[in-house]
């Protein structure tokens, strides 16, 4: 459909033939600016992806009730993943943590 190539190299007109076959012109894109825009968009997308990968989703210990289940007036909850992973630092008490290096050092 693209009829002319001059515009791409700095020309001001970009000739296009429409579906009906009639020729018409549209302003040509500034290729250099467009290229910079593409690069910036790519950088932004990559940054967004990297950022989202580094951001952990909010920890949750509940999950939705099954759709078929009608709790009625009862208060019902559904534990997620059997509570197998809690956020670090959980618990009231200091839990003994074995530091293998200190064990080795003390021998």
């Amino acid at each position: 459909m693209r009829q002319g190539s001059r515009g791409l190299l700095g020309g001001s007109q970009f000739a296009v033939r429409g579906i009906s076959g009639a020729r018409f012109s549209v302003p040509a894109v500034n290729v250099r600016a467009y290229h910079i825009f593409l690069e910036m968009r790519t950088i932004a997308l990559v940054a967004l992806l990297v950022g989202s990968a580094n951001t952990r989703p909010a920890h949750s210990v509940l999950q939705p009730l099954p759709k078929h289940f009608d709790a009625g007036d009862a208060s019902v909850v559904f534990i997620k993943d059997r509570l197998n992973v809690l956020p670090e630092g959980f618990g009231h008490h200091e839990v003994g943590v074995t530091r293998f290096s200190s064990v080795i050092d003390s021998r």
Binding site: H59, V61, G72, A74, V76, F78, R82, L83, H93
Partner: protein
């Protein structure tokens, strides 16, 4: 974290999780497994009954008598049983007297074999610890077995009936509670046959044998070990001791292949009951833990008291009654209990003295 703290009281800095834990703390039914929803059924109910939650009294030994649709519960504080009539639209409660008097009934089970309630009774003034029978109609009582070849039992705790056989546990709770007794026997699980009168110890390797139940096919015996309560009363629970449910295969009234099925995360397993589906229910402090036959925690029913025992009741055994220090609860679930096979009419069944 100790075993005297429920899991939702765990300290957490994550605000989102902290909010969820508050939601869990206020829930009546806590599912850990999707199968739990089928067991409790849609629109489950948990009802505190008879406004008993404010009265401080240990309630134990719930037993359902299908021939009269009555539920008996031992009220240790009142030192007499409660009788709950389930025939009325709203169950009614009355206290009854036994003849001769029995107090400190800690466990009970109905025997369709001879239409009697068999009860495990702690020692009390004038009463040796042992197994006693109660006629549910006349409320007459008589001793069935109160010693092992001259040795006093410790404090018989709970029992389950298998035809003419009684399986029961005998931990030294009375001594732990400070009654001054000295153990004459190890904490044992016993089997007693009401026809042959044979009494035999079948496991002597539990710390504090407690609740006891049979699988629907009577081939597996479940026994709770609440050994974590081994300290005198008032002392904290010892997390490193037993809070376990074990299963055994039964062959010729002997026990084989003992294996660990479950440990509680909170408190200890007390009363144990099994539904017709083989699901295990145990009273464990504020919770009733619901466990699959292969030992998977399916969910918890949360009460506002400290629950000791439970029983399936009602004509279809679809009511699960939970009793304990914080009152009496009824919950309607979709996992009914094991129906009794009553082969004789009550009139044919009389107390044998």
């Amino acid at each position: 974290m100790t075993v005297d703290e429920p899991f939702f009281d765990i300290g957490i800095t994550d605000k989102h999780v902290e909010k969820e834990l508050e939601e869990i703390a206020n829930a009546e039914f806590i599912a850990f497994d999707v199968r739990f929803f089928d067991l409790i059924g849609s629109r489950p109910l948990l009802e505190p009954m008879f406004n008993l939650s404010k009265t401080i009294s240990l309630r134990e030994a719930p037993v359902y008598v299908p021939t009269s649709n009555l539920l008996f519960v031992s009220d240790m504080g009142a030192r007499k049983p409660m009788r709950i009539n389930l025939t009325e639209k709203e169950p009614t409660l009355e206290y009854v007297s036994l003849h001769p008097h029995l107090e400190s009934i800690n466990g009970a089970a109905y025997s369709a074999f001879d239409n009697l309630i068999y009860a495990t009774v702690n020692p009390s003034p004038g009463i040796s610890g042992g197994i006693y029978a109660i006629d549910p109609e006349t409320l007459e009582t008589f001793p069935v077995v109160n010693n092992y070849v001259g040795h006093h039992f410790n404090s018989p705790n709970d029992l389950v009936v298998q035809d003419d056989g009684l399986w029961f546990t005998d931990p030294p709770y009375a001594a732990l509670l400070g009654n001054g007794s000295t153990a004459e026997l190890r904490p044992n699980v016993y089997f007693y046959n009401t026809s042959s009168h044979v009494l035999k110890a079948v496991d002597e390797n539990l710390q504090l044998p407690n609740g006891i139940a049979l699988s629907p096919d009577n081939k597996i015996l479940y026994v709770a070990d609440s050994g974590a309560l081994c300290q005198p009363i008032g002392q904290p629970t010892v997390a490193s001791e037993h809070r376990s449910i074990y299963a055994y295969d039964i062959v010729d009234s002997l026990l084989f292949n003992k294996r660990l099925v479950y440990i509680t995360d909170f408190w200890v397993p007390d009363g144990v009951k099994v539904s017709a589906s083989g699901t295990i229910y145990t009273a464990a402090g504020i919770f009733v833990d619901v466990i699959s036959p292969d030992g998977v925690l399916l969910g918890k029913i949360r009460t506002q008291g400290s629950m000791q025992n439970l029983i399936f009741a009602g004509p279809k055994y679809e009511e699960l009654w939970i009793v304990g220090l914080g009152g009496v609860y009824r919950t309607r679930i979709s996992d009914p209990g094991i129906p009794f096979k009553v082969s004789k009419s009550p009139s044919q069944l009389r107390i044998q003295t």
